[in-house]
């Protein structure tokens, strides 16, 4: 049984300082790697997959540890983290739409 929830409500989110320092250091490392992707002119799928990987790692660490989401109740996690998933549909639709606009423009300009 999760008795942590009641404890947290009284005392707030208390965690050892070491965990913040570790996450802090990791964020620096991942940011440096992100920058090095550009510095070494990686390109194509390798570049894009590395950018996305480091981006998600950093975002995950910030939300989970710095914003304390890892220690919240599952009900709050669901309420905050699930709704943004519908944005993936928007992104997908707009990517298709952008492609269509691009092809339409090419067809119009080449005529």
């Amino acid at each position: 049984m999760d008795t942590v929830a009641g404890h947290q409500r009284a005392e707030g989110q208390q965690h050892p300082i070491a965990i913040y320092l570790w996450i802090w250091a990791l964020l620096f490392v991942f940011s440096t790697f992100s920058y090095l992707i550009d510095y070494f002119h990686l390109h194509g799928y390798l570049r894009w997959s590395l950018i996305i990987t480091f981006m998600l790692l950093k975002a995950g660490l910030i939300v989970a540890i710095f914003m304390h989401m890892a220690w919240e109740r599952l009900a709050l996690k669901f309420a905050i983290l699930v709704p943004p998933l519908v944005l993936l549909i928007l992104i997908g639709l707009m990517a298709v739409e952008g492609d269509y606009t691009f092809l339409t423009r090419l067809a119009a300009f080449l005529r």
Partner: protein, 228 residues
């Protein structure tokens, strides 16, 4: 389990999926967190949608333009000591924002330990890093405007570059600026002992949520606008 669903203390609330059911069906407050924290999370959720709409529109215009997109690596490079270093200003800005996020996390931690002086100092340091970030962004904007980048066009390539750049970084910069004010106000309240009298430092954590979100958005802007 029926007993657990009816408890209001949260002391024996079940974890995991049964916990979700219990929290929502218990005829009680669904989220056992301070209301300010729940509201901040919901505000940040709405902000997530706004920033995603901006980044999605940026993706859309970048895909659909027939003019070559300016290379961010070159556009945002700086001449330091005679050598051209790609994207260096943005890298420094990223580090400044991450540093500020770290000091903010420490401030929240010290707040819950009731270290008034440490919390105030760390929050003011966070605000100072935030102000530094906005200053560097102003420098970046000035540089690009001098080079002829405008929201309606630029000499480097696709005109959509200017409009999306000013809109996305401008809106993020506005968030950082608002955060600096927010942090300063709360820091001064911490210093005056307002939260000691109130008996809770949760406002510091709520302020921290906002600040970490600003850093979070920058992670996505950095990846999609500057690195892509």
């Amino acid at each position: 389990m029926a007993e657990n669903a009816l408890t209001t203390t949260g002391e024996s609330a079940p974890a995991g999926l049964p916990g979700v059911v219990a929290d929502w069906s218990g005829d009680k407050q669904a989220f056992p967190v301070p209301w300010g924290k729940a509201m901040m999370w919901i505000f940040l959720l709405s902000d997530t949608f706004i920033f995603t709409c901006f980044l999605t529109s940026y993706m859309n215009v970048r895909i659909s333009t027939t003019v070559p997109w300016p290379n961010p690596s070159e556009v945002f490079s700086l001449n330091i000591g005679g050598t051209r270093i790609p994207l260096i200003l943005i890298a420094i800005m990223t580090m400044v924002l991450i540093t500020s996020s770290g000091t903010m996390a420490m401030a929240v931690n010290f707040g819950y330990r009731r270290h008034r002086a440490n919390t105030t100092a760390l929050m003011l340091i966070t605000a100072a890093f935030g102000a530094t970030f906005v200053g560097m962004q102003a420098f970046e904007w000035t540089k690009l405007i001098r080079e002829g980048v405008r929201p309606w066009g630029n000499p480097l390539g696709a005109p959509q570059f200017g409009s999306t750049f000013f809109m996305i970084t401008g809106f993020h910069g506005l968030h950082v600026s608002a955060g600096v004010v927010y942090l300063t106000v709360v820091a001064l309240r911490v210093w005056r002992g307002f939260y000691d009298r109130k008996g809770s430092y949760e406002t510091v954590e709520i302020t921290g949520l906002y600040w970490h979100f600003v850093d979070l958005v920058w992670v996505f802007i950095f990846a999609f606008f500057y690195l892509w």
